[in-house]
């Protein structure tokens, strides 16, 4: 299965919804989308991982890298993730401490 991303705007935030599998084969594609968006001035990003079928440590690395890039450009990155099997990876690696997992796009945009 390939990776597929959908981009939309909600309340001044750019929402990237990721479908499919994020691994070493597909992470570069996701990274490219995120780099391009920040480069185009969309540094306030919501990454919606609720449609993801698989995510590994390369995916986590891509998220960290995008977070740092967004912040460097005066923005931020927020994660929507309610699937326990994906959330688990953020918890195991302690990334949920730096990057809270939000229940939906509205909560992400509200920053709550």
């Amino acid at each position: 299965m390939q990776l597929r991303t959908e981009v939309s705007e909600v309340g001044g935030w750019t929402v990237v919804t990721v479908h499919g599998e994020v691994d070493v084969a597909t992470a570069p594609e996701l990274r490219e989308v995120l780099v391009r968006l920040v480069g185009e001035g969309s540094a306030h990003l919501v990454l919606d991982l609720d449609q993801v079928d698989f995510l590994d440590s390369t995916g986590l690395g891509t998220v960290i890298s995008a977070l740092k890039r967004a912040r460097t450009h005066g923005g931020d990155l927020r994660i929507v993730c309610t699937q326990p099997r994906i959330a688990r990876l953020f918890q195991i690696t302690g990334l949920d401490k730096a990057l809270p997992l939000l229940p939906d796009v509205d909560a992400a945009v509200a920053g709550a």
């Binding site: 691994d23 070493v24 590994d56 440590s57 390369t58 690696t93 401490k97």
Partner: protein, 145 residues
């Protein structure tokens, strides 16, 4: 005991095939594994295969296959990932900063082995003459059959 072995080219495009085979070989043929434990195992195997593929790239042995061996036993499932890269010493990897340390976010990589160690019940890295064998074990609850 049942053994299913898969040999793939050392290319990231084959990672999804590996996960599919682990899913099918273990999900349908090892009753009693919960979907959550099977997910854990699939992630751990995928991480080990990613490293194996990276090791073949680093050692420029891209023509050699990576082997994934699933061994289904009564009380556990074992997956071995065998590569022919240059090997490494897992005890000498840099430890990640604590989750609360702001420097934590400097680390975009190095998450694979910590994940494997948490997701599998047992993990072993065995250096071989010619590469590394990663052994991942997940216990199976006793089934009533």
């Amino acid at each position: 005991m049942a053994v299913v072995e898969l040999e793939i080219p050392a290319r990231p495009a084959y990672l999804s095939l590996v996960r599919l085979v682990v899913d099918a070989a273990i999900g349908s043929l090892a009753p009693g594994m919960s979907p959550a434990r099977l997910d854990d195992l699939k992630i751990a195997v995928s991480e080990a295969c990613s490293n194996a593929i990276e090791a073949h790239e680093a050692a420029t042995v891209l023509e050699d296959p990576v082997v994934v061996r699933c061994v289904i036993e009564e009380d556990q499932v074992t997956v071995q990932v065998v590569d022919q890269g240059r090997g490494f010493d897992p005890d000498r990897l840099e430890a990640l900063p604590a989750a609360t340390d702001p420097r934590r976010l400097r680390h975009e990589s190095g998450l694979g082995i910590p994940l494997m160690r948490t997701l599998a019940d047992e993990v072993a890295f065995t250096p071989a003459d010619n590469g590394t064998t990663v052994t991942l074990v997940v216990y199976r609850p006793a089934t009533t059959s």
